[in-house]
C-alpha cells in the first residue's frame, strides 16, 4: 500500500534524500512490504513525476511544474516533440523510482510494482481550467480553443505516461498501478454521459485501453486505482473493459455492492477512508476497526476476491504521522487474521 511506503519514508532521517535515491527508496519500499506483510512492493504514490518529466521536455524548470499550465493551443511541431516516444529526459524522482524498481527486482523476492498517474488525470494538471474544458467537450463544443487544447494536453499526457510505463517495465516492474483519480464525477458530468456524450470514452477509456494493450504486450499486470466519486457505469468500464488484476476504489464506493459490476478475476482493493486518518476526531481508531470489520464481513458474504487496504495514499500531514500510523496498524491488525 502506498500509504505504508509514505509512512516509512517519513521515518527516515532525511525523507527527501531517500525519496530521490533509488537504493534508499527501494529499501523503504521493501520495509513497508515486510512490515505489513504483502508480497507487493508498492512505491510512493507521487503523481507529480510524469508532469515534471513532460514539462522538462518543454523547457519548464522543475520548480515551476506545479504552477505551470498550458494556456494556448500548441503548434503541431512542438506537440510532436513533446509526444516523442524516445524522449530521454527523466528527473530525479522518476530516476529514483526506476532504480528502486530494479533494486526490488534484483535483491528481494517481492513483486516490483510501478506507479504512474493516468493520462486523463495528468491532462487535468496541464490545464488551468480542466473541468470547464472537459465540460465543453462533453456538451459538443469541440471547436472551442479550450477543448482543442485539452485534447492536445491529453495527447501529451498519454505519451508521457507511456514513456513512464515503458521505462518502469524496463527497470523491472511486473505490475503497474495507474492512478486516475480525476476520472470521476468532479471532472466528468454523469448528466452529459447519460445523455450520450462520448466524453468519458474519448478522454478516459480510449487512452487507458491503449496503455492496457501495451502492458498486456509487455507481460505487466495492470492495477487500476481511482479514489474519486464514480457512477456505476464508470466502475463497470474500469473493471470489465480495462480488466485490471486489481481494482482499487475510494471510500465513497461500497465494495460489496460493486462486486456485481466486477468480473470474478478482478480483485477489489481498498477502501478504508484513509484520507481522514489524520483526524482523531473525524476518524477515531475504534471507527477504523469497526469499518474494517464491516468491510471484511461484507466482502466475505459476497464472495468476491478482496484485499483490505487504503482508499488512497495519504500524503504526509505535518504533526499527524502518529495518528495515521496508529490507524493503519489498527486496520492491518483487524485484517491480519482474516
Amino acid at each position: 500500500m502506498p500509504i505504508g511506503t509514505d509512512l516509512l519514508l517519513h521515518e527516515e532521517p532525511e525523507p527527501e534524500v531517500a525519496r530521490n535515491h533509488g537504493p534508499a527508496l527501494g529499501r523503504v519500499i521493501e520495509r513497508a512490504a515486510r512490515r505489513w506483510g504483502t508480497p507487493l512492493a508498492i512505491p510512493l504514490m507521487d503523481l507529480r513525476l510524469e508532469k515534471i518529466d513532460l514539462l522538462t521536455l518543454a523547457g519548464i524548470p522543475e520548480h515551476e511544474a506545479d504552477r505551470f499550465h498550458f494556456d494556448t493551443p500548441i503548434a503541431p511541431s512542438a506537440l510532436a516533440a513533446l509526444c516523442r516516444r524516445d524522449a530521454p529526459i527523466f528527473r530525479a524522482g522518476s530516476l529514483a523510482r526506476n532504480e528502486a524498481l530494479t533494486w526490488i527486482d534484483t535483491r528481494t523476492n517481492l513483486i516490483p510494482v510501478g506507479m504512474t498517474i493516468g493520462p486523463f488525470s495528468l491532462m487535468t494538471r496541464l490545464l488551468a481550467d480542466p473541468i470547464g474544458a472537459v465540460a465543453q467537450a462533453g456538451s459538443g463544443m469541440t471547436s472551442e480553443d479550450s477543448v482543442q487544447l485539452a485534447q492536445q494536453c491529453l495527447q501529451m499526457a498519454e505519451a508521457a505516461v507511456l514513456r513512464s510505463i515503458r521505462s518502469q517495465v524496463e527497470h523491472g516492474a511486473r505490475a503497474m498501478m495507474i492512478c486516475e483519480p480525476a476520472a470521476c464525477t468532479a471532472f466528468l458530468s454523469p448528466r452529459q454521459i447519460r445523455a450520450g456524450s462520448p466524453v468519458f470514452e474519448q478522454f478516459v477509456m480510449e487512452p487507458n485501453l491503449r496503455l492496457k494493450r501495451f502492458l498486456d504486450h509487455a507481460g505487466c499486470d495492470l492495477i487500476f486505482h481511482n479514489c474519486g466519486e464514480l457512477i456505476d457505469s464508470m466502475v463497470e468500464d474500469f473493471a470489465q473493459r480495462l480488466h485490471p488484476v486489481i481494482l482499487s476504489l475510494g471510500s465513497s464506493r461500497r465494495l460489496w455492492e460493486d462486486a456485481r459490476l466486477v468480473p470474478d478475476d478482478v480483485v477489489l482493493y481498498g477502501n478504508l477512508p484513509t484520507k481522514s486518518f489524520y483526524s482523531d476526531g473525524a476518524m477515531p481508531v475504534e471507527e477504523v476497526m469497526r469499518r474494517t470489520e464491516e468491510l471484511i464481513a461484507n466482502m466475505r458474504a459476497c464472495g468476491h476476491p478482496h484485499i483490505v487496504g487504503s482508499e488512497c495514499d495519504v500524503l504526509f500531514v505535518p504533526g499527524a504521522a502518529d495518528a495515521i500510523r496508529a490507524k493503519v496498524e489498527a486496520m492491518m491488525q483487524v485484517a491480519a487474521p482474516a
Binding site: Q136, R191, K275
Partner: protein, 211 residues
C-alpha cells in the same frame, strides 16, 4: 423576456447567451442589481438545488458559474458607478503552499451567484495577505480552501494570524477542501465548514445572519 433568457442561460451554463441576454436587458432599461437579484441569484439557487438533488454535478456548477461571471463582467462597472453593492462581502483564497484553485473558484462563483460580493485572493495566499485583505476590505466572512493534507495546517496558521492582528472577532472564518472535515474546523477554531461549493452559499448566509 431577457430576464428569463438570462435565468435560462445561467441555469444551462451558456456563457454567450448569458452575455447576450444581459446586454439586451440593459438596453431595455433593466437595473443591474435587479438583473442580479431577479435572474442570476434565482438561477444559481436552482443550480445549487439541482446539484444537491444529484441532477447536476461539478461540471454543471462550473459552467453555470462561468455563465454568471460573463454576465457579471458587464454589470460590475455599472454597479461600481452607481455605488450599488451587495450587503455581504467575502474574502476567499487557497492557503499558502497550495496551488489548487478549482474548488475555491467554484465556491467563489457560487457565492457571487448567491448575491455576495466576493474578493478572490487566488491560490497560495500567505496568512499576512489574508490579514491585510481583512483589514483593508472589511469583509464579514473569510473562506479558506486547501486541497492538500500538507497545506491544511496553514488554515490554522491563517486563523492564528487573524487573531494576532486583532481581527478575528470581526470576521467569520469558513473552511473547505477535499481533506477538510467539520471536526477539523472545530479543532482549528473555524466558524464553519462545508463539503461542497453549493453548500457554501447557505453556510455564509447562516453565519452572517447569526452574527
Amino acid at each position: 423576456m431577457a430576464f428569463n433568457d438570462l435565468y435560462d442561460a445561467v441555469l444551462n451554463g451558456e456563457a454567450q447567451k448569458a452575455t447576450a441576454a444581459t446586454k439586451q436587458a440593459l438596453e431595455a432599461g433593466a437595473a443591474p442589481m435587479q438583473l442580479i437579484s431577479d435572474a442570476m441569484v434565482p438561477a444559481m439557487a436552482e443550480v445549487g438545488r439541482l446539484y444537491e438533488s444529484g441532477e447536476y454535478f461539478v461540471p454543471e456548477l462550473l459552467l453555470a458559474g462561468r455563465a454568471m461571471k460573463s454576465a457579471m463582467e458587464l454589470l460590475r462597472p455599472l454597479l461600481a458607478a452607481s455605488g450599488d453593492r451587495p450587503n455581504t462581502r467575502v474574502v476567499i483564497g487557497t492557503v499558502k503552499g497550495d496551488l489548487h484553485d478549482i474548488g475555491k473558484n467554484l465556491v467563489a462563483s457560487m457565492l457571487e451567484g448567491g448575491g455576495f460580493e466576493v474578493i478572490d485572493l487566488g491560490a497560495d495566499v500567505a496568512p499576512e495577505r489574508f490579514v491585510a485583505a481583512v483589514a483593508e476590505r472589511q469583509p464579514q466572512v473569510v473562506c479558506l480552501s486547501s486541497l492538500l493534507t500538507v497545506t491544511m495546517p496553514c488554515m490554522k496558521t491563517t486563523i492564528e494570524a487573524l487573531t494576532a492582528a486583532g481581527l478575528r472577532n470581526q470576521v467569520k472564518v469558513l473552511i473547505g477542501g477535499a481533506p477538510v472535515t467539520s471536526q477539523y474546523a472545530k479543532e482549528i477554531g473555524a466558524d464553519g465548514y462545508t463539503d461542497n461549493a453549493s453548500g457554501a452559499v447557505g453556510l455564509v448566509r447562516s453565519v452572517v445572519s447569526a452574527a
